[in-house]
Structures are given as structure tokens and as C-alpha cells.
Symmetry: C2
Subunit: 261 residues, 2 copies
């Protein structure tokens, strides 16, 4: 995670071309040029199949008769297990984008609700804005990019609370337990467990960040692991127990005896 272009070039002993989003999404012809004759390697952060554009690149290569070999890699999709929550207890992964005054996309909300209804944890991937243009610069056709922005934990938690405030369907509450994951895989990685409300005031430091919202199914082993990341163990345990009341299936009622039998 601490590698940069220079260190990678030294490691691979060859030149590396930085592929920004634009090149990956629209420049597949450039990337695949002469790849039928020469070896072309496409390096990604995380697992190669973590993004639809990468899948698309493989399809295009195959259409051109270019053999593709994939070398898999760790990804946030599995490294998230480092927080102590078990991977098989996660539901669908959702993305959270930066809100603006006029645009607050909340498609994540129904998905979190679906996961939590069946007791599962949710991994929320937080927005990354790199090489974005301001509306003014875009309108004037100026290729000036804004500084990169990475959503931090407090912003994510606040946006989640804002949408719950609007929707009021209790997909989650301010007291719902979550885990903040920062700089996963880097030497400075850190975890913080707390309620959504608590995390809305958490200083998560340098990027990148991800957030996990707990589901009702929390094993003792998971809870024991999370305790090392909380401020107050008893309080956190109470919040987990309270949150487990949401979406609880109705208690089992034995079928009535049929006297006529």
C-alpha cells in the first residue's frame, strides 16, 4: 500500500504508465495495442475483478484474440475481515458518494436495509475523488483538476445519519454499531468501533477509509475481537444488544395441536 510509481518501476525494472480513470474507461484500444505480440501488464490496486471496467477490458482483449492471465490479489472485499467480523456474514457491498447541496444519492440505503433485515454486516466503500474538475472549469473547458478528496469516516457517518433522518425507515439508527477501517493493509492501519453517532465525530486521519455497519448476527468471537477497538466495552456491548432487536424475526410459535387427530 505504500508503493508509488517510482518504487514499482524499480521493482519491475521497467517503465510504468500511470493509467488514470479516463485511460482505463475509454482507452482500452491504447492499453491493448500490440498486446497480441508483446506482454502488457495492467496493474491495479486490490483484486483485478473488483471493478466492472476491468472485466470490460478482459472481454475486449478476448474479442481481439489476446490471451489474458489474471494474478489475483488481496482486496478490501476480503481484507475487511481484519476488523474481526467474519467474511461469510457480510451481505452486498455498497458505495457512499460525497453529497452536494443538491445531490444526495441514497441508493445505498435500501441495500443496507436488505442486508440488515437478514442479519448481515455491510461493507461501505467511501468515495474517492481524483482528477475531478470543478463545474466552472468544466464549463470553460479548462483541464484544471481539483485536489484529490477521500471521504473520511466522520463524513460518511454524518451522511448516513442525514439520510436516515430523511427516510425515517430505521434501516439503522444513530446507535447502530459500526467499525471504522483506516489505511487497511498499510503499516498505519487502524480500526475504531463505535456507534454511528460516535463515529460521526471520529478523527480517522489519513485516507483511505472504509466503514462496516454491523448486522444482527454478531458472534461472540466477533464481538470479542471488536472490543479492542472500542472506548467503552460495556457500552458497546449494550449498543450491539439493542441493535440486535431491529429486524428480529418473530419468536417461534409451535403449531397448535389438532385435537381431532
Amino acid at each position: 500500500m505504500a508503493a508509488n510509481q517510482e518504487s514499482l518501476e524499480k521493482f519491475y525494472e521497467r517503465e510504468i504508465i500511470l493509467a488514470d480513470r479516463e485511460l482505463v474507461e475509454t482507452g482500452s484500444d491504447d492499453i491493448l495495442k500490440d498486446a497480441d505480440k508483446d506482454d502488457v501488464a495492467f496493474l491495479v490496486v486490490g483484486d483485478p475483478f473488483g471493478a466492472t471496467t476491468h472485466t470490460d477490458l478482459v472481454i475486449r482483449a478476448r474479442e481481439l484474440g489476446i490471451p489474458v492471465e489474471t494474478i489475483h490479489n488481496a482486496s478490501v472485499m476480503n481484507a475487511v475481515g481484519a476488523c474481526g467480523l467474519q467474511l461469510y456474514q457480510f451481505g452486498q457491498t455498497v458505495s457512499l458518494v460525497f453529497f452536494t447541496d443538491s445531490w444526495k444519492p441514497d441508493s445505498f440505503y435500501n441495500k443496507v436495509m436488505e442486508n440488515r433485515k437478514i442479519g448481515l454486516h455491510t461493507l461501505l466503500l467511501l468515495d474517492i475523488k481524483v482528477k475531478e474538475q470543478s463545474i466552472e472549469n468544466m464549463a470553460r473547458g479548462r483541464l484544471i483538476y481539483e485536489p484529490p478528496r477521500y471521504m473520511d469516516i466522520a463524513t460518511a457517518a454524518k451522511q448516513l445519519l442525514e439520510i436516515e433522518e430523511i427516510r425515517q425507515e430505521q434501516a439503522y439508527t444513530p446507535n447502530t454499531p459500526c467499525v471504522a477501517i483506516s489505511r487497511l493493509g498499510a503499516p498505519t492501519q487502524s480500526f475504531k468501533a463505535g456507534t454511528l453517532q460516535e463515529l460521526s465525530e471520529y478523527d480517522s486521519g489519513e485516507p483511505l477509509h472504509s466503514l462496516v455497519m454491523l448486522g444482527r448476527q454478531v458472534h461472540d468471537l466477533e464481538l470479542e475481537y471488536l472490543y479492542q477497538f472500542v472506548d467503552n466495552k460495556e457500552q458497546f456491548k449494550l449498543m450491539v444488544e439493542q441493535d440486535q432487536e431491529f429486524f428480529k424475526p418473530p419468536p417461534y410459535v409451535p403449531p397448535e395441536e389438532n385435537d381431532s387427530d
Copy 2:
């Protein structure tokens, strides 16, 4: 994936102790012995946090004040994306164990149903039996192990069909589209897409195998990628479309106009 103990010892230039299930589950004291003074590395297949016993090992190390550093790795939990289905469209992962005449555990069934109700794909991890004793040998206290067994795709598909036959709740049908994944990450890895019925007669070759059952939410890009693994593209497409009728939400009905307004 093609590494063995010898090649790993050569690579790491040190002796490697083979840690079987018993050692990992009950021998944490042995593994952690002197780990506060010496470096002890615990090598796993896949990601270190893919199994609860590994999480437990980390907890025990921390209790003993032994610092733990984790190096993440690719895992079937994310490498499954190589079949062309998008990772964020997967629900909870389930395990399928070998049935016996008297024991046919079906806890996976409700989980597959939950995933499919909300349109998600399901990764099914297939049973591995290594160092298992026969009931007779166990009863007589003889430490004789059966040859290792790895569940193949046909067995998995047949077991799934058997449970649907018993439960009759249509969590899936014989026509539900699935993807067979064999030897993922190895040079001989292969994929086969077809209905559950078709895969119940599929010869999947050498282990390891995993199975993915599709959910209703299948993007065009996912489908396009799967076509390369099917026998009959038109037929597969038809099966996907038919399967999408299951768990379909009711069509939107606009609210009635209130004439009194």
C-alpha cells in the same frame, strides 16, 4: 496454488511445519510458544481472516502480548470475481458439506433463499475432508485416516437439487443458472456456466471447486462475460431470464388520485 511444502521451504529458506486442522484448532499454545521472542509466521491458503480459528489465534496472541502483523492475500472470497460476476452483487457466502445417508444438513438453503430474495448471487464453498477417520476406526481408537475427499461440482449440484426436492420452497429450481469454478488461481482453472441440472452431470476434474448460484440482478456485462463458459448462449440467456421471474418485486402501482383534493 501449485506450491507444496518443499517449494515453500526452498522459497522461504527455512523449515516449514505442516499445520493440520487439529494443530490449528487445539495447538495454539504450540504455535505461539516463544513467539514473543522469535518471529513466528503462520502461513494460510487464502486470506488469513477467512477462518474463525485464525481470528481466534490472533486474539490469543494479543492476550499473551505478542504483536501480530497480518499480510493479506487473495482469497476465493474475492477471486470468485474471475467468473465475471461482480463482487458487490454477492450476498452471504455459504458452505455445503458432504451428505451421508442419515445426515443431510441444509442450513445453506435458507441463506441462499435470503440472498436470492434480494437478487444477489451466492458463493457456495464445497466441503473438503482431509484427515477424516471412518466411524469404525474412530470407535476403535485407530489413528487411520481416510483418503482426502473434495466435493466436486456434480455432487454439489445433486445435493442442492435433493434439498430443493425435500423443501419444495423454490429457493432455486433445476433451471437456476450457476457457475462452476474449478482450480481457481491455478494455471488449469476453469469455469462452466449452466443450469443446476446441467451442472449435476458436469465433470469438473481435479479439485478444488466452488459453485456460484446467480441472483436475479444480472447485469448485461456479467451475462456477456458468462457466455464464454456456456454450451448454448441462447439457451443460457433464456434460463437467466426465466430465473429472474423468481422473487421479482411486484410491479409499481402509482398511488390512487384523491378526488377530494
